[in-house]
Symmetry: C2
Subunit: 233 residues, 2 copies
DNA sequence: ACAAAAGTGTTATTATTACACCCATGA
DNA sequence: TCATGGGTGTAATAATAACACTTTTGT
């Protein structure tokens, strides 16, 4: 294949918006850049796609390499691609961005090799544009996607561990949306929605108070009727 | 910039799923390929992104060049990117796919230069996989996006001309979803939804029967509450 | 007058919201 | 026994769905 001005070569990268709920805050995994451009600035984890590697495989590999975070059981979906001609000063680049949602990990990113990766509350990145490239725009799009998908999909369970209480799931909604939800109504909707959550039969008292039933994620992908963001108080 | 096995060069293309409602069918604009690979097969319009050209500009340019269809006032949104290593036998390619929605044009694609472009009912492409590359997958994703966005966005008006009746808009919903809707309930929801449609004050009898009020698209992007696909009968 | 399509009324059903209240545990 | 959260009851309100009915044109 000959690259010409009409068929020019591009660099193709992946960037991943990894979200979790941590210390009552919606948080994103960021890395500190060790080389130009934007040296020393924060960036989303990501990197170049290899030859003979699919785009989602590249996202998983880069995340693991850069942060030590594995996505085995996690939710991963494509977000969008970003390709403004000037987005990378070095060369013409198209980045395929991904959204990943993880439970709050017991051992954050510690123990991993290359890792300068840290969890950063999304709110702390809101005003100051501390992110390299167009990563602030990618982050904004990822957060908006994550917020809206809570309404009509079962994505909320991806923030929870394999077993969780209804209150823990409600906490995810409250943090991601930044609202307070009615505990009783939320409980009814979630448990009454077929396929959203399934009782494990076990209970826990880890939240304090009366023991709560434990659930695992159900098989439903889409929720109907949706849990609307309006149900706040 | 040096391209290595870790930073390999890619070809980046755009492909556009252009939808309209035509002769009571959801239809997509396709072109007949004039050269290998997949010579003689149908394909979505698209092509290589130029240097110093943004991705959406490339989509508009390729569509105009290949089909003579301009997207000035039309709806255009990014769909997703497709980059399986074997998707193009010639080279490693990533395609950024776009979804466009147009009114049924009076002069289809006639009069345009290079144009082997035709409107094809989506249903006719369903069983036989007559499309080149992974374009059937892209089409499927585009149609699904178009269908689901009718529920919660004002995308339906993009299928209509600058002025339309409620019945014409309802026809769009019925064709895209493949259902029959209750005319009375639809009328109430559409006209009562703030920002969805605005009366022009004029009327038309082009549908036969009692004259219908004409509307233009409103400013709202999102509809609340959503028009659910369940409202069929 | 009649067919056809536009648009309004009416009602049953279902979903949402607010909030009261009881339940089961740890301290 | 008290504080803390889990979970259920209940009633007002709003949205949806079904369908009858009136309106206004062309033929």
């Amino acid at each position: 294949m000959v690259y010409t001005s009409e068929h020019p070569p591009f660099a193709v990268t992946v960037d991943i918006v990894v979200l979790t709920v941590r210390h009552d805050q919606l948080s994103v995994l960021v890395v500190r850049r060790g080389s130009p451009p934007f040296e020393g600035r924060l960036a989303l984890p990501g990197g170049f796609v290899h030859v003979d590697e699919s785009l989602d495989a590249a996202a998983r590999r880069e995340l693991e390499e850069e942060t030590g975070v594995g996505l085995e059981a996690a939710h991963l979906e494509q977000l969008a691609s970003y390709g403004e001609p000037d987005r990378d000063p070095r060369m013409r680049t198209v980045s395929v961005a991904w959204l990943a949602v993880l439970p709050d990990l017991p051992e954050p990113t510690a123990g991993s090799d290359a890792s300068d990766a840290v969890w950063m509350p999304v709110a702390d990145l809101g005003s100051r544009r501390r992110l390299a490239f167009d990563h602030f725009e990618i982050l904004t799009d990822g957060v908006e996607r994550a917020r809206s998908k809570l309404e009509y999909s079962a994505l909320g369970t991806a923030y929870c561990g394999p077993e969780f209480t209804v209150a823990e799931l409600r906490h995810v909604y409250e943090v991601v949306w930044g609202v307070t939800l009615d505990a009783g109504n939320f409980h009814r909707k979630v448990t009454g929605m077929p396929g959203f959550v399934e009782p494990t039969g076990a209970q826990t008292t880890r939240g304090g108070g009366r023991p709560a039933a434990l659930y695992r994620a159900g098989t439903a992908e889409l929720l109907h009727p949706a849990l609307l963001r309006e149900s706040l108080r």
